[in-house]
Structures are given as structure tokens and as C-alpha cells.
Amino acid sequence: MQAVVRNYKARDYKSEVKPIWCPGCGDYTVLNAITRALAELALPPHEVAIISGIGCSSRIPAYTSVYGFHGVHGRALPVATGLKLARPDLTVLVTGGDGDGFSIGGNHFLHACRRNVDLTYIVMDNQVYGMTKGQASPTTAPDWEGSKLTPEGTGINPFQPLVIGLASGANFIARVSSSDPVNMAQIIVEAVRHPGFSLVQVLSPCVTFRPDQAVWRDFVRTAEVDCTDDAARAARRLMTDDGFNVGKVLFKGSRAPYRPEFERSNGSIADLESRFML
């Protein structure tokens, strides 16, 4: 508890645009957690940007009162990288889903972790493509038969975002559940404050295409581990957990963020031109 006057309320970070998400969707909770976190961080809305790609969860920027960019499918991380490197003064968050981040945007995910730009990436993982009517995503279980596209299931093991994020160099790794918005807000605050690339996986059920995920709220449990800075230890935990340990920061690294300086080194365009002169 701090005795400071807070200038911002969570609602100051919400726009007038009404979400089109299905009632009951976990993404509403994520939106609330983000706005609560920003209020707690007391960041002026115009100094924050939220970047997204395509998908239900990628609609978040328009629902906020901060600067937003809603780009194309899978490319939120590069847009955010360019923005943060060009404007290090801004606080940049990235929101999106499992398909956007781990399938079409998979390569950018690897390299965003590796590059370690000071970004906070919040992935709403519902193990399904919602905008296109419920196809298997990279995190879907191999035997899920709910899609006409893969009626026998995909037969492919799911992508492990946190393990892969860790191996690729993410500097902060956490898993939260949309059933605990207050905890989520707390983790997001930590993620934003931690330098470098912060990855927050949110178990966010899809009420329309994955009604079976309603049980997640009962499955999830607060992870019985403390945060570690030891990547090998974090890897062992993440490799062996069942994906329902939530509510904690699971790894915090100390790698310096990638931040090329825009320092002018006493040069001018005239100097550059003079080198072509004979």
C-alpha cells in the first residue's frame, strides 16, 4: 500500500467503443485487468500504446483509450518492436491470441523473445480460432474433434508457448487465468515494470467454440512455486506442468533489453555526401 494520490482510474483507460466479444468471454476480463494495471502504474493514457494483430483478442486496442494499432494477422510483435525502438519513451503492450501469436506469427514470437525489446506480450490462449468459427489452433489438444476442418482432431501435439518463450530468451514469463482478474492485473503490472520482453499467457476460455473450457476455472490452481531467475529450473517446471498452474511469475531473467540508441555521433548528411566526392 502506498500513500500516493492516484490520478487514474481503470475506466480512464477504456474507450467508448463497445466490445463485440461474446458475453462470458475471458477477453473481457483481460481488458479489465489491463486497464486496472495501467491505472495502478499511473501511466498517462497517451504515453501507452497497445498493438495487436487479428483475432478476437486482437480487438483490445480499440476498446482502450490509449494509442492503439490493429494490424494484420500475426504481425503485432514486429509493429510493436518498431514502435518501441523508435519511441522508447512509450510503454508498449501487445495483445493477441494463440493463433495470431504462435501459428501465423510464430517466427516473430521466437525472435521477439530473443531480441528482448522492452514489451509486454499478453496472449489470450483459448486453444481455438474464434473469428473463423472454431478451428484448432497451435495450442489445441491433438484429439479435439470440434472443428469441421480437422474432424478427427489434429493429431499434433500442442505448442508449448512458455517453454518455447523461455528457450527463445523471454525475460519474464507468467501464466494467469481469466477467472482471476485481480491477480492478472497484478502480474501485468509486474510484467510492464520488468525490463525486456515479458510474456504473459492468459488461459481465457472461448464460451462459444470451446464450451468445454468452462471447467478451466475449477482446474486452475495457484502455482506452488516461487519465481526463479534460473532458466534451467524454470524449464524443468514448465516442461512438466499440466498448463493449469497459474497466478505466478514463473521466470524473471536479468538480460538487458535490446535498445539501440538514436544518438547522433557528430555526423551530418553533408559529411556522408563528402565521402562520395572525388
Binding site: V72, L85, H111, M277, L278
Partner: protein, 582 residues
């Protein structure tokens, strides 16, 4: 052959030093006061492949490579036949080869050029540390009139770090070759001229492109390496750092274009450079930049396509993807540089256009101009006054208290852009169709209004006389026009000069602004023209078809098009002009 220029090829396998020899010769020519154009061709190997350096020297600025070469200096014959189509000869040409490597391959002898032998290896072996390529340089210098002192200065600079012994050995080999050339048949010789006659630059098209980008104000570049655009990015990396900018190497082209969109959304002018395969990957994001109205510049140094094609050779065949590549109705800017020097102007102009109109601009250059080095008159500096129109912080401008409309529909179609960090104007830029506030909308009326707006800003913009370079013969324009673009402009200009010298009348129109089309300006430029010759380097006549789609051309319009890497020489174009003027 006119004697104001001399054209030669130095060829040999990798390790023979033909690329180095070419550079030394170019630099020595610069010291002599000449103008020069150097291009190269090579095999697919990273090391050790066959290579050829093509050079043209002249006492006045050079527009293109000549129709044929006066001299081939072959260090060896290894695989040289692969280049035979790219190095045309006549019966007057001279092929000089080293007997130690056997006879000249038949593939080079179709035009029955003269042949001579020069024992490069034997001469070099007699000098400690001597190399055949330096012997060859000496012979070339003697044959074309290059003073040895010019080469001395250049070699001293080049071998400075290796010490005086290396310099002496190289120059000994050079002088031995110089002396040996006395026995060789003659080729045209150039006079030495005063080096300080006018300020000159030594620059490649790729360097000029990078410089234009910086002069335009770009301070963020995301880069993924690709031939033949890489040198633009390699030049920009240290140069940006000197002027307070940043270059980031991206994981792929999808990332590089989306990174520059992010940086530009943040208010920092941004660009990337690529070639055809990379441009193909960037097309979706180009559409995003159109819809979200984010200014970016993408340079496409074209190479032979489709697919991986021939990565090291030139073709003007990305015109279609640049103009039509995006899905939906996506008005954007396409500009094309038409010479090594013009890479500077056109890329700087492109930044100005993109920033002023908040839209992507594609700059088309190609391998030929990008990787050619030219000694040319110092380009005239120029500035463009227009820049990005940004929105003032809430309460500081008009419409105080009203909600900010990022995509306000107005007369110019250009709506002031709020840069993140500006209080009170936060909004979401969107690739989804949107209303003026940026809120996603699927309504027909919003779609129509935004399409109109995005189209209007491009059609109403004043491109001034930069849309094309127009050159007339000395006797006036006449009723013939050549319409061309990009690297085909050089040979066409030289053809026009030769045509003019014989009293011919014609006009050359080199289109710099490929999109949007300028039908009124073209109609004015074609007033009185009854015959049009369209020149381009593409197999399907992409440029000709684009002209047909957007412009009224006379009934008698002839399309001269051929696939890369071969280019139309001035002679072939002149032939057509002559056939029309009789």
C-alpha cells in the same frame, strides 16, 4: 564508334582479381578526370565463380553501357562463355587472352572480333609478388590512354596497409603490362582531361538510394538481407548512426515491413529495402499501411524473377506487383529511379511523397543501377518542403473538445495524424475498414468514404514536373516519342542523343511516377506525337500494358520488351527511330 567513350570487360574466375582490377581502374579513371560506369556480372558461387567487370569510360557523363565492347581482357577463360550474351562484340572488338590458359572459347567469337595474346601469367611470374590482374591493368591503361600516375595513386591507397613492398610489386606488374601493350592492336583511346573540371562523385545506385532516403528524413530502417538490395541496408546501417537514426536487422521481410510501420506510426519516418521475393512477402503489410494511413518507403531493387529467379541479375519485372500487388482497392505511390544518380532524387522524393500523403511509397530500382558504380557529376542538391501533417495536442488546435478523428474525411483526403504521446488524441489505427474515428466499421458508407479519401489524397497531390523526365532532340520533339522507365532510360537517352546528332526529331519520356497514373500530364507530353516506342526489360511487356491501361497512346505504338538480364542497347533503339524517320 565515337571516341568519346571506351568500353571494356575484365573477366576471369574467382580469385583472379577482376572485381578488384575493375575498381582500381575506375578509381584511376576518376583521377584522370573521366566519367565512368562500372557494372558486373558473376556466376552463382559465393567464392571462386566466374566474374566479369564491365566498364565504360568517357570524357562526358555516361548514360548507359554501350552496344558492344571494344576490349575483353581475359585473365583466364574459365566459364566465360556464360557471359557471352551479356558482352556483345563487333568485328572491331579486341579480345586479349593469356596463352597460358589456351585459346579463346568459340562462344565469344560469333562476331569475329580481333584477337591478341598477352602472356599475363609469364610476365607476372617474373616479378616477385606480381599478379596477372595488375599486368592486365597495365595493358588496359596503355590501350585506353590512362596515365600510369593515376594508377600509382590508387594502388598506393588500396595497398597502404600491406606496405611499400606490395605497392612496388603491384606497380611493377602494372608497368610491365603497360610496356607489353605496345605490341597489341589499337582500340579507342581517351584523352586525359583536367580532373577538377567539375565536381564529380563516385557512387553506386544502392548508395545513392540510401543517401536519398536519409536526405528525405528517414531515421528508422528495418532490414532483412537480400540480393541485390543488401548494399542499400549495409550503407544505411553506419550512416544512420551518424545522423541519429537506427537500423534493426529483422527476422524476415514480414517483420521488417511491420517494424517500419510501427516506427512510422510512432512518428519516425521509416523505410526498408528488399528485392522481388521480399516484396512479395511485404504485400499484405503494404495494404495495411494504405488502410491505416501510415507513411513508409519500401525500396525494391529488382532482380530476375519469378521466385528466386536469377538473384544477381537485373530485370524490370516487378512493375506489376508494385502497382497491382495488393488486394482490395489500395491506392499507393510507386516511383522508379531512372539512373544511378536518380536513385538519390527518387528515393528522397519518395520519402516526401509518403510522408506528405501518409501512404506507402514503393521505389523501384534494379540490380543494374543498384550495383553499378558511376563516376558522375555531383548531383544538384534539392529539398522538398512538404512533410507529415500531424495533429496538435487536444486544446491546442481547432475543434477543441471534439473527439479526434484520425481518419477525418476532408477535401485533401490528408487528415492530420496524431503521434503517440500527444495528449488527448489517442486512437487506434486500423487495417480494418473504419469510420473517421478509426473505429472498425462494416458499413458500406464508411467504406466508400474512406476509399474516396484515400484515393483523393493521391490524385489531388501536386507531383509537379517530377512525374517524368522529358528530353527532346535538339531540333525539337517531332512526332515520335519514346516512353520508358528505370534502367531502360539510359540506353534510350543515348539513342536519342545519337538520333539528335543526325538531325532526328523525337521526345523521350521517362516515367518516374508509375502510380498513380498522370493521364493529363501524359496527354500534354504526347501532344503532336503520332508514333510511340515503349522500351522495357520484361518478358511480358508489363510497362507497355500498364501504359495501355492508363494512358491514351497513338495507334502506332510499338512495344520493345525483352527479359532480363539482357538490356536494349542504344543501337537497337536508334535502329527503330531511324526506321520511323525515313
Amino acid at each position: 564508334m565515337t571516341t568519346h567513350s571506351v568500353s571494356l570487360v575484365i573477366a576471369g574466375s574467382g580469385g583472379a582479381g577482376v572485381v578488384t582490377a575493375g575498381s582500381l581502374l575506375l578509381n584511376a579513371a576518376a583521377k584522370t578526370g573521366w566519367y565512368a560506369l562500372m557494372s558486373r556480372s558473376s556466376g552463382p558461387q559465393i567464392r571462386g565463380g566466374e566474374a566479369a567487370t564491365m566498364l565504360r569510360f568517357a570524357t562526358r557523363p555516361i548514360l548507359s553501357q554501350d552496344d558492344s565492347f571494344h576490349l575483353l581482357m581475359a585473365i583466364d577463360w574459365d566459364n566465360i562463355g556464360r557471359f557471352s550474351a551479356e558482352i556483345p562484340f563487333t568485328g572491331n572488338s579486341l579480345i586479349v587472352g593469356d596463352p597460358a590458359h589456351g585459346p579463346c572459347p568459340a562462344a565469344l567469337l560469333a562476331a569475329q572480333p580481333r584477337q591478341a595474346a598477352l602472356a599475363l601469367t609469364d610476365i607476372a611470374e617474373k616479378i616477385e609478388g606480381g599478379r596477372p590482374n595488375m599486368v592486365a591493368l597495365g595493358a588496359i591503361a596503355a590501350m585506353i590512354g590512362l596515365p600510369p600516375q593515376a594508377m600509382q595513386t590508387v594502388v598506393e591507397q588500396y595497398l597502404q596497409r600491406k606496405g611499400p613492398a606490395a605497392i612496388d610489386a603491384s606497380m611493377a606488374a602494372f608497368h610491365a603490362g603497360f610496356a607489353a601493350a605496345a605490341d597489341l592492336p589499337a582500340i579507342p583511346k581517351l584523352p586525359a582531361i583536367a580532373a577538377e573540371k567539375e565536381p564529380r562523385w563516385s557512387i553506386t545506385g544502392n548508395e545513392a538510394t540510401g543517401l536519398g532516403i536519409l536526405r528525405g528524413g528517414v531515421r528508422f530502417v528495418a532490414a532483412y538481407p537480400i540480393t541485390p538490395a543488401t548494399e542499400i541496408l549495409e550503407w544505411l546501417a553506419p550512416s544512420l548512426a551518424k545522423v541519429g537514426g537506427v537500423l534493426v536487422q529483422a527476422e524476415d521481410e514480414l517483420s521488417s515491413i511491420n517494424q517500419i510501420i510501427g516506427a512510422s506510426y510512432g512518428g519516425v519516418p521509416a523505410m526498408t529495402a528488399t528485392s522481388g521475393p521480399g516484396l512479395s512477402l511485404m504485400v499484405e503489410a503494404l495494404g495495411l499501411a494504405v488502410a491505416a494511413e501510415v507513411p513508409i518507403v519500401v525500396v525494391d531493387a529488382m532482380r530476375v524473377g519469378p521466385s528466386t529467379g536469377i538473384a544477381t541479375k537485373s530485370e524490370q519485372s516487378d512493375l506489376n506487383i508494385a502497382v497491382y500487388g495488393m488486394h482490395g482497392d489500395a491506392p499507393h505511390i510507386v516511383v522508379a529511379a531512372n539512373s544511378v544518380a536518380d536513385c538519390l532524387f527518387t528515393s528522397q522524393w519518395a520519402v516526401h511523397l509518403a510522408e506528405s500523403m501518409q501512404t506507402p511509397a514503393i521505389v523501384l530500382t534494379d540490380q543494374s543501377m543498384g550495383q553499378s558504380r558511376a563516376i558522375l557529376p555531383r548531383p544538384t542538391p534539392f529539398t522538398f518542403s512538404g512533410q507529415r501533417i500531424t495533429a496538435p495536442a487536444a486544446g491546442e488546435g481547432e475543434g477543441e473538445g471534439e473527439r479526434y478523428q484520425r481518419y477525418a474525411v476532408n477535401g485533401s483526403g490528408i487528415s492530420p495524424m496524431a503521434i503517440p504521446g500527444t495528449p488527448g488524441l489517442a486512437h487506434t489505427a486500423d487495417g480494418l475498414e473504419h469510420n473517421p474515428f478509426g473505429t472498425p466499421s462494416s458499413q458500406a458508407s464508411d467504406h466508400q468514404a474512406q476509399l474516396d479519401k484515400r484515393s483523393r489524397k493521391l490524385t489531388q497531390f501536386n507531383y509537379a514536373n517530377h512525374w517524368a523526365d522529358i528530353v527532346d532532340t535538339d531540333a525539337g520533339p517531332g512526332d515520335i516519342a519514346i516512353i520508358t522507365w528505370g534502367s531502360s532510360t539510359g540506353p534510350a537517352l543515348e539513342a536519342l542523343q545519337r538520333f539528335s546528332a543526325t538531325g532526328g526529331k523525337a521526345r523521350l519520356i521517362s516515367l518516374r511516377l508509375i502510380a498513380p497514373a498522370q493521364p493529363d500530364r501524359m496527354a500534354a507530353a504526347l501532344a503532336g506525337v503520332t508514333r510511340v516506342l515503349v522500351i522495357e526489360q520484361s518478358h511480358s511487356g508489363q510497362f507497355y500494358r500498364m501504359l495501355r491501361a492508363f494512358y491514351d497512346l497513338p495507334r502506332e505504338t510499338l512495344s520493345l520488351h525483352q527479359a532480363g538480364p539482357l538490356a536494349f542497347g542504344p543501337g537497337r533503339i536508334l535502329e527503330q527511330l531511324n526506321s520511323w524517320s525515313v
